[in-house]
Subunit: 421 residues, 2 copies
């Protein structure tokens, strides 16, 4: 039996396959092994697990064969237990939803064990009526839910190092995750409290021991901020702010205050420790930019990537995620030759605003050294910069809001490394 031959057409140099190939009948990767009819016929053999009834129902977790899929770099500051970060294993995930157990974490004084029966949300400051809400009160308000990303502004900060860090996708870029966030539009609660004319900002504070506090312009709060009580259908997990957090679509994760306790309406920013000693961007002229909230347009090829080496020549899926704090992803471009030629990637069908978008392409690796890159463009016209461009104008060691193009080098043995191009 002869194996079918496929005629590929290419969209860019070094093997990027034209997406129209997929629309023609007869296109295929050709990875399947041909077998004689008898071997393929069902019932010819039974695997061990078909010879006896399987296990029962209940709270079944992931397969034991996938135990390597867990959060990486779970590390706290020396001498502390919960003041640090853990990262989403992006290279092992597909689609856009991050399972809640794998959502990245960044805590400033650990995860408080909050009793929802005694926790209350307070709204006060420059309002007509100070209000407080129990969880039961909040459940009575009409909620919304939306699938949106959350990214720590320190994500990918390792990429400012002078030499490209040899770590995997999770370790470099794993401080971004995407969930369905559900809760109450904050403008409904603030309308109920009544904002005084001089109210222009709020300061939100958490019920953790660090009392994490961030100032946010009222305009954002009244636009699309929610008091998030649900994540991926169920109540938010303790590591994500149970029983509630502030959620600001597209804005840096730190401003989305977890374990939310108070919203105070103010006339200006409050200059808290969390927005002055940290989470500000120092320029090379010595001036620190504060309140640089929206996350930039960004993309990462998650596969192939370091640790997911290629074993033989042939067709592979290039897959990755793109996102923008300013809107929807309009286009993702791919290069397999280090940026000399580019082709459009395909986007999975749900392209949502301020959400992850999954992009894909087929790539025919011919066994030679190649450099894979992705570049995202959002519907506001923002284009993902290269590293050199990103560094321009920033002070040394300033690492927040890194969103430059990531390049992976594939050597002739199929091994993948992080490179600066």
């Amino acid at each position: 039996m002869k194996k079918k031959k496929f005629n590929f057409t290419f969209s860019a140099d070094n093997g990027l396959v034209d997406r129209r190939c997929f629309l023609k009948s007869g296109f295929g990767v050709g990875a399947g092994m041909m077998v004689a009819g008898a071997n393929a016929s069902e019932g010819k053999y039974r695997d061990d697990w078909m010879r006896k009834p399987g296990s029962g129902m209940g709270e079944s977790g992931p397969s034991i064969h996938e135990s390597h899929i867990k959060r990486s770099n779970v590390a706290s500051q020396p001498g502390t237990l919960g003041s640090g970060a853990s990262r989403t294993p992006l290279q092992f995930l597909d689609g856009i939803i991050t399972p809640s157990r794998l959502h990245f974490e960044r805590h400033h004084s650990g995860i408080p064990d909050i009793n929802p029966q005694s926790h209350r949300l307070f709204i006060h400051g420059l309002v007509d009526r100070s209000l407080s809400f129990s969880m039961n009160d909040l459940q009575r308000y009409q909620h919304v839910s939306r699938i949106q990303f959350l990214e720590c502004s320190g994500n990918s900060g390792a990429m400012i190092a002078p030499n490209a860090p040899q770590r995997d996708v999770s370790q470099i870029h794993g401080l971004v995750s995407c969930s369905e966030w559900g809760g109450i539009p904050l403008n409904i609660l603030l309308d109920e409290a009544g904002i005084k004319p001089e109210g222009k900002w709020i300061v939100a504070s958490g019920a953790d021991a660090a009392v994490m506090s961030r100032s946010v312009p009222l305009e954002k709060i009244m636009d699309d901020a929610i008091i998030a009580t649900h994540q991926n259908g169920e109540p938010i997990r303790p590591s994500n702010g149970y029983p509630m957090r502030l959620f600001l679509p597209g804005w840096e994760g730190n401003a989305c205050v977890k374990w939310l306790k108070t919203i105070k309406v103010t006339s200006g920013p409050s200059m808290t420790k969390d927005e002055t000693s940290k989470y500000s961007d120092l320029r090379d002229d010595g001036i620190a930019e504060l309140f640089t909230f929206p996350m930039g347009v960004k993309s990462i090829i998650t596969s192939p990537s370091p640790g997911l080496d290629l074993l033989e020549r042939g067709i592979y899926q290039i897959s990755g995620i793109a996102w923008s704090g300013s809107g929807k992803i309009k286009q993702v471009e791919l290069s397999a030759d280090g940026g000399k030629t580019w082709a459009k990637a395909e986007l999975d069908s749900h392209v949502l605003s301020k959400s992850l978008t999954r992009f894909r392409s087929a790539w025919k690796w011919n066994g030679t050294q190649s450099s894979l890159m992705s570049r995202a463009i959002d519907d506001q016209g923002n284009i993902q910069p290269n590293r050199e461009h990103w560094l321009k104008g920033r002070a040394i060691n300033t690492f927040y809001h890194y969103n430059a193009i990531q390049s992976w080098s594939v050597n002739s043995k199929g091994k993948i490394n992080n490179v600066y191009l």
Copy 2:
């Protein structure tokens, strides 16, 4: 301090609040407790959990305060361990995503423990080339991911009982869930195998001890069927078919064969035990309808619902889910007076094809007996029937594909019961 008064306008009788109320500044539920400014000011008191650092990072699960949110009716056939069902706790969830740990289960001989290194997918029968694929082979094909529901055709079957069953939403309707399903379009693999002209159906078989097998028309397979390897971003869990299952968007769950092992292309349906002794619809003229795959248009109010009783008069959120196996939800209508008057519900922003859609409305309960109903309409013009209409023409005890309107009665004490109207 005087509490602000709100002027409601209503969209239907018995308290359904007009959605335009939400667009006017000053609308609110009024559930918040007014507090004197001093009480509300931050730092005035610290809860216990703010007095010491919280716990560390890692594999944190749901809050211990939400341990009641688990699958219900975990029950197997007498004498068996894994031949039965467990149900999604819909009344405690929000949005559209079902966390994978809470996805409903229906197994015919338990959950096999499949080693992905030795499992292979076979494609054979009326094809030019029989093929087999390892998991590594499949990873090289270009995937897709989509957020879509999965419903057991036996879902809601309890509603054929002559008296309305007094159970909660999960126990009656919990055999529906919604996930982001990722995998390989099956048409790519079948194109690679080459379908012979006489190939019109396939039969898909699982690697469980029951060798669950279902026939599916080739037209559906080539349209939108996938070999699903991922669920909500991570590899499919064992209870959902790890390492792969057939996924047929909008079609009954049983046909989406789990632990998929073989796809055989055939000239007609194979009349397996699983599609003749079960999963067929007996009519009142004695004829059994076979291969009634698409799930009907349907909706359920998940809150308020039995067990989530109302404690006092006032404004409440009505929230629920709607779906259709034929396309997108176009509209959901709500009644608070047992079907005399109806008003449109609001739909959460992501209205996706063959997915759950979350609907909501505000409702002012005046403390009197009320009957809440929802009715979904899809973009193909299908309208959710009432119970009487649904029963017409079906044999007694035929319970598959039940999709009639659900009515909840609220008595003057706020207690909620299942009623036939």
